[in-house]
Every structure is written in structure tokens, then in C-alpha cells.
């Protein structure tokens, strides 16, 4: 039984959600890793160092440059015969590509798993995480995306796997990359941060998110948001934590001015420690918070920044 894991990477190396997918795959058997893109030598070298990876497949072609679903799915389908399982993190890329692969293989994918029971059975959250379903796949091959927050990522170093180049067949999938507008931030990525501080509708304006910054600086935190804050245009879409946004499980999650709709809780309730700051003492967020502070955030946030500064 060998699992092929599709890795995502950037200039800094293999992304943390992908390292969590490797950890999940390692529960089943031998793990091979696929890096696909244009100019993947550095990423392949980084993948080769991941503990638990037995072989790295490097697919280098201009058509793979932007992880478009159509060429990437064709590549995975071509590699699939050698594998019992195909894994990827349940990120924007994994969620885009793996179901396409599954359909081409006549397989029902298993999305966003939070647990591996055995080679055929997986645990996955349904209904915004209000229920955990254990499902058994009857397909000969399994196509699986992994909820990164549910698996501790493998380390960045420790392995030394061989790298093998794989051929990429040229094909026009009908899609073309036009451009990207990526949010620039010096902060850790939401899904990789040890601490996350998120603002909600209570922040009242995008400018007020600046109040979170000194606190995020002191805690080394990523900044997130509820859907309400994103819909209101306070912050970009990639800040969203929730059922259909990012799923996070940091050591510490600080929810500021967030009421706590089930769709938001779905994205953060597996955090180790949850703090809620809200002036509405009836807000549902307090039902999941380890520490609740009923206060006006416009007073509490500067105080919090000052108090952390004392440490």
C-alpha cells in the first residue's frame, strides 16, 4: 500500500497543511510525495527532507505553474495506477483538484478527513463539524483530502528521499491563469500560526483591525476574521475562519467582537485555548470560550496590548 501525497510549496518550502497531509498518509503505509509546478527543484529538495517520505516525484512544466485544476488532475490521474491512495491537504488547491481526479478515476472522494481509521475508513466532520461521520469507501482507490488542523505536521527536516522526475503530457484543459491578488503579510499563515486573533462584525470598520496588530505582534499571531467582517469588506477573503473558510486549531484563539455563529465555530472550535472578548454577554462565542471577557473591545484591545507589553 503506497500513498501519493500532492504537496504545496512556496519559496519558504513545503507548506504546513501539506506536511499534515503527509502525517495522515504515513498512518497507512509508504508515502510518496508529488511536487508539481514550473521550476520545482528547490521544492523537490525540500520534499525529500520530510520525514516519512520514501520518494519524491518532481513534475516540472510551464502548464503546471499555477496549480490549475485541469493539468494537475491529468498528471495525478496518470500517476494514480501505482498507488492505493491519493492524498492532498484540504486547501484551496487540494479541494479544487482532488475531486476532479476522483471523478476521472470513477471514485467517490473522501473530503476533509479528521481521522484515519484504516485503509478504507476515515472520520470526517459533517454539518459544520456538528457531527463526525466515520465512512467506509468501497472504491478500489481512495482519493482523500486532509483537514490539516487535525494532524500534527511532519517536521521540515529528517528525511532523505530520492527525487525522480516524471513526464508531463501537454494538454489544453481549457483554463488559463490570468492573475492573482494575494494578500501581503509579514505574519504567519492562519493555518500554521500558534496563535490566531480574529475580529468580527463588532470591529465596525476595516481600520479598526489595526487595534489587533500590536497584540498580534506581541503574540506572534496570525490575524483572522469572521464571515461577517469579510462580507462587510473590513478585511480580504483569505482572513475568513469558518465552515467554508479556513479551519484553524492553534494553541490560542482570541475571538474579538465575534458573536459565534455555528459556521464560525466550525472553523476554530478545535483550538486548544479559546478567548472571547465581546460586549454582549449572551453571545454564543462564550459557550465555547475557556476565558470570556465581557467588555467593549475598543477599551479592551488597547489594554490588552499594554498588558502584554508588561510581560
Amino acid at each position: 500500500m503506497t500513498v501519493l501525497v500532492l504537496l504545496e510549496f512556496d519559496a519558504a518550502g513545503i507548506k504546513q497543511p501539506s506536511r499534515s497531509a503527509v502525517a495522515a498518509a504515513a498512518k497507512l503505509g509508504e508515502v510518496h510525495a508529488l511536487v508539481a509546478g514550473e521550476g520545482v527543484a528547490a521544492a523537490a529538495a525540500a520534499a525529500a527532507k520530510l520525514p516519512g517520505v520514501a520518494k519524491v516525484l518532481a513534475a516540472d512544466a510551464p502548464a503546471l505553474a499555477h496549480a490549475l485544476a485541469e493539468p494537475l488532475a491529468s498528471l495525478l490521474v496518470a500517476l494514480a495506477p501505482a498507488y492505493s491512495h491519493l492524498f492532498a491537504a484540504a486547501t484551496a488547491v487540494g479541494k479544487n483538484v482532488l475531486p476532479r481526479v476522483a471523478a476521472l478515476l470513477d471514485v467517490q472522494p473522501v473530503s476533509d478527513i479528521a481521522g484515519v481509521v484504516d485503509a478504507d475508513q476515515f472520520v470526517r466532520p459533517i454539518y459544520a463539524g456538528n457531527a463526525l461521520a466515520t465512512v467506509r469507501s468501497a472504491d478500489a482507490k481512495k482519493v482523500v483530502t486532509v483537514r490539516a488542523a487535525s494532524f500534527d505536521p511532519v517536521a521540515v527536516e529528517g528525511g532523505s528521499a530520492p527525487v525522480e522526475s516524471v513526464a508531463v503530457a501537454a494538454a489544453d484543459g481549457g483554463s488559463r491563469f490570468v492573475g492573482a491578488e494575494l494578500t501581503k503579510s509579514e505574519r504567519p499563515e492562519l493555518t500554521a500560526a500558534r496563535v490566531v486573533i480574529s475580529g468580527g462584525r463588532g470591529m465596525q470598520a476595516g481600520d479598526n483591525f489595526k487595534l489587533l496588530e500590536p497584540i498580534a505582534d506581541k503574540l506572534g499571531a496570525a490575524v483572522g476574521a469572521s464571515r461577517a467582517a469579510v462580507d462587510a469588506g473590513f478585511v480580504p477573503n483569505d482572513y475568513q475562519v469558518g465552515q467554508t473558510g479556513k479551519i484553524v486549531a492553534p494553541e490560542l484563539y482570541v475571538a474579538v467582537g465575534i458573536s459565534g455563529a455555528i459556521q464560525h465555530l466550525a472553523g476554530m472550535k478545535d483550538s486548544k485555548v479559546i478567548v472571547a472578548i465581546n460586549k454582549d454577554e449572551e453571545a454564543p462565542i462564550f459557550q465555547v470560550a475557556d476565558y470570556g471577557l465581557v467588555a467593549d473591545l475598543f477599551t479592551a484591545l488597547p489594554e490588552l496590548a499594554a498588558e502584554l507589553g508588561k510581560g
Binding site: 485544476a69 475531486p99 481526479v101 471523478a103 463526525l132 488559463r176 494578500t183 465555547v288
Partner: protein, 249 residues
Amino acid sequence: MKILVPVKRVVDYNVKVRVKADGTGVETAGVKMSMNPFDEIAVEEAVRLKEKGVATEIVAVSLGVAACQETIRTALAMGADRGILVETEVELQPLAVAKLLQALVAKEQPGLVIMGKQAIDDDMNATGQMLAALLGWPQGTFASKLAIDGATATVTREVDGGLETVALALPAVVTADLRLNEPRYASLPNIMKARKKAIETVKPADLGVDPAPRLTLVSVAEPAKRKAGVRVASVAELVAKLRNEAKVI
């Protein structure tokens, strides 16, 4: 251009679902059902394209039990022109839905399929991608903006790092994310008008598809409950607790 919009009947997003005591599923008896919110956004987008003169006809499709007719009626009241119900008692999983839709696409020949990116019941986020694969069409998932220009759809997608724009050669499948638009409420006259619009009913066998599920539900459990926390009286107390009790800062 004809647009096909698949719409799913799901437990309403405001309902707090309960796991059945015997662990065989979640309680759906007597629970309010609605159209999947992402599918409402898809219907709205199709209606706007028709209002702009880009689309000529909108066909709403739902798959499942007879009650899915209500979901189709909702789409018709929002502005879809006619409906197709693929009626079955079999539990439909994304692969089966994609195959049934593939057969309907072959029959209807739409230039575009718009659907929700994810159903809020099984949270699979798969059907649109799978339909695109089976049709050999390009896909624009998690769309927050859609522009049609001749034979090309330009789709702005919500991705992990921000936004990404792709150009797709039509026909294509587009899946709607939250911020694509804000769906309208159907007006009473439109709800009345929708009652007269046609809904055709077909069976999976008529489409030559075996809808049998590939995933078996072994069990359903409640997630671990969080212990009730404490209220702190001040910021200073909060920081002290985080430092000395929780030891996370």
C-alpha cells in the same frame, strides 16, 4: 446561452443538527429544509446573467426525494425558467450526482453550469469539480466574480492567499463562493408565477446512471464538547490566566 443550475435540498443553515442517539446519522425528521445557501448564490448569478442578456434560459435541477420539488420552486421563484427533478430515494453522493448531471448536460446542452461550491450538510465540496471532470470541461471553483465575454468565462476565485483569476473556455462549470453576490428574496408575484412553471421529473434509470453510493456511513458521533470556561473580570486577569493557568503566552 442556456445555464444549468443544480440546487440541493439541505437542512436549513440555522438548524442546530443533532446526532441520533443510535449513531446512525443526524436527526432530519421534522427539521426545516431549505435550498443550500451556496446554490442560492448560484441561482442569483444565473438570473443576473439572464437580466444582462447573457443567458437566455435557466434550468434548475434538483436530485433526490420528491420534496426536492420545493427547492426547484424556490429557484423558479428567484427567476429560473423551468425545472428538472431527478427523483430517487437512494442517498446520492457527489459522484452519482455528477454522473446524473453529466447525462442532463448531454440532453440540455447548456453553455454554463453554475452551482454552489459546497453543500452545508455533507460539506464535501466536490460535485462541481467532478461534473467538470466527467464533461472534460474547465472549472472555476470558489468564484467571487464571474464575467462572460463571448466564448470565455473570467472567474475570480477565493483561494488561500487571496484572490486568483482564471479564464475558462466555455462551456465550463463555475462554483459559487459566498461573496459572488447577495441572493434576492423571491417576491410574492414571482412565487405565484413560479407555480405555473414546468418541472419535469426523470429517474436515474432514464438517464442510464447507477446512483448507488460508494461511501458507507459506518457511524456518526458527536464531536467532543468543550468544557464550560470561566469569565474574567478584567484584561489584567485574562493575561494572568493565559500566562499562569493556560500557559499559552
